[in-house]
Amino acid sequence: MADHTTFSYDVLIVGAGGAGLRAAIEAARGGVSVGLICKSLLGKAHTVMAEGGMAAAMANNDDRDNWRVHFADTMRGGQYLNNWRMAEIHAKEAPDRVRELEGWGAVFDRTPDGRINQRNFGGHRYPRLAHVGDRTGLELIRTLQDHTVYLGVQVHMEHTVIDLLLDGGRAAGVVAYDRERGRFKVFSAKAVVLATGGLGRAYKVTSNSWEGTGDGHALAYRVGAELIDMEFIQFHPTGMVWPPSVKGILVTEGVRGEGGVLKNSQGRRFMFDDIPDNYKPQTASDPEEGWRYTQGDKSARRPPELLTRDHVARCINREVKAGRGSPHGGVFLDIAWIKEKIKDSEAHIKRKLPSMYHQFKELADLDITKEPMEVGPTTHYVMGGIRVDADSQESTIPGLFAAGECAAGINGANRLGGNSLSDLIVFGKRAGEYAAEFARGRGATRLDQGAVDRAILSSLEPFERGDVGENPYKIQADLQDTMQSLVGIVRTESEMQEALVRIEALKARAANTCVSGHREYHSGWHTALDLRNLLAVSEAIARSAIERRESRGGHFREDCPDKIAEFSTVNMMVKRSADGTMELSRVPLPPIPDYLKAVIEEQKS
């Protein structure tokens, strides 16, 4: 028997970002024992980096807002591939989830009448994002973390889950190692919630931290759960492009929300040149109207810089390819220009966008109150993920729940900014609630000792190879190059087929990684183990993207540039087949009920 210690909980939560913490709070309220596992220290998960805000139709800044508008905006943004029920629940419950944070100590920016202030963001019809300057993610994670630590939730920090365990087809626990010492731990549980976040690290240029290796996606996939919408990756239009070491780091959409404009090297506001028909009625007809919109004029329509992210990213890509880019291969994002409009614009910008000011000052030696920034697209978010039941967040494996970025459905083909943080608290809560309910109604699970041993022994193989084998960092870098160049913002079938060939070759190399030294805090070893996950999700992205022979939302095919009706009613789904290969199929979208169709129609004008 491979050496390990064992823990046991009713509900085990994997991930301590917004979704995992919110699930932990709700599960603990459900009166069951709760364990929480995360790869980093508590409070450091990716959620901490979120900037702009969280979307909830509280109507504090514009009383025309309500759940119906938010629902319709989300569906339009997702090009109607969203799970309608998730979009409905999300729009209806987000306001309460945001408000309750205040009772746990969150301190949002205020409106003049003392309520939670809401800001404009791309694709949202009215100012809807509750925010704290541009550090909303920090506020969210710290509030949830500080609330959780008093609830008796057992936190296992700096532990990485390497495999899920099943008992007769039902989730039964996980195998993990602690990063500090490299010791193995087995956690048995009656219900497991995956809240592991995204997979940006499959790409070379990304806003994601090292944690974003698609672990939850891959863990669920390996035990037979279904993943949908994996072709939909969000490339955020504005990442830093210079200096090289910070390439990909996010520049919040809030910059555009506060009046920042995009320009090419000829000084042209190129976003005015390409406004999709279905957004024309809501888009400003000239710069002056756009500016008034950003300053809260309710009669004005939004500037084209605030169109959906997929569109803005492609427009930037086009400018750069056409030779109209900035010196370091991006375009210009200018907020400094508002000095023409606002007295003391310098102080204004620093107050509205403090961490952007700080980030550019410290990392690029650039003062955004005086000069334009250089920005370009960066891999940001995955719409695809574990297929779940809309109400309970249970996956296709009984007792296995998923919430947050690793779950799919709410966003369809493209996520609106701000809809992730609200997704985390709405569906994190639901996952915790239903996981606790599931656990209360069930007996203990049995641990599959054979599976535990296999997981542990196979993860130690890289040490056995000593120094004859592959360098894991090198394989990771090669995979990132492959995904960046062949399955990126603009895709073609032939390039993606080439990517699949390369992924197969990388799989062979990944099975032959070697590391030496001790197991304590060994990044090389950790990277070797992450590769399995990165390769699985990369394959899922490429296969799904090949099958969707059209362009929609975050998925753009140069060889099929139009939307095709045949694909408007299906999600791509991947699943592991009995022989271990990846099986792809199309699953029909659940039909939208009439009362919601009516909502969509009424909001179209």
Binding site: V107, V132, S209, I249, E362, G517, G524
Partner: protein, 253 residues
Amino acid sequence: MATATFKLWRTRTDGDGAFQPYQTEISDGMVVLDVVHKIQAEQAPDLAVRWNCKAGKCGSCSAEINGKPRLMCMTRLSQVNLNEPVTVEPMRAFPSIKDLVTDVSWNMRVKQTIQKFAPRPADAPDGTWRMAQKDVDRVQEFRKCIECFLCQDVCHVLRDHNKHDEFIGPRFFVYAANLEMNPIDTADRVPDLKDKHNIGYCNITKCCTKVCPEHIHITDNAIIPLKERVVDRFYDPVSKLLRTVTGPRRQVP
């Protein structure tokens, strides 16, 4: 391409350690964390280092660079002297785990000893409160804290006098101040600050404020006002007398 020498702290299996020099290529715009990662990828795959955001937002990559507590991801090479070897070592006020990584779990335990947030009943039927921006500006300053623990690392009460059992350190005075000054909070943490958390040990050297990467005015805005509350409550005879009449609680509007 230019090269530079970095001396990174490496621990041995017996727990002790030493600086080990690495020569590496550097390029324009790099930060210290980039260099550490480059060394890790090319020369020392088992080098231990914590990081997450690489943008000064998560507070994971705290270390001492040329002896100064800093975030590795926010220290550009243009800010250090590259003509001499640059030393990078872990925070010294916490137990070492491996190489640049320290055990900061003490901080998590300390937080739980501070009375949690206790809001007054909601002001509005939807469960929310009304607060003016100017009344929350100060609290928002404290809430910028990214829990990098660099302030804990420099505070002599912890670093030199090892008062970890008696003294919560600057980070948690910031945390307590954030709760105490929240306009809707009703709990009273002043007695604990005096007796349990020993705010009196702080002699306002301001070392913590100097290293805070979020530029929080730890001493002026958090510690000194809290000290004043302690003094008002326990040492000022007039307010003491008043309180026996009005009760120990802060008045809630």
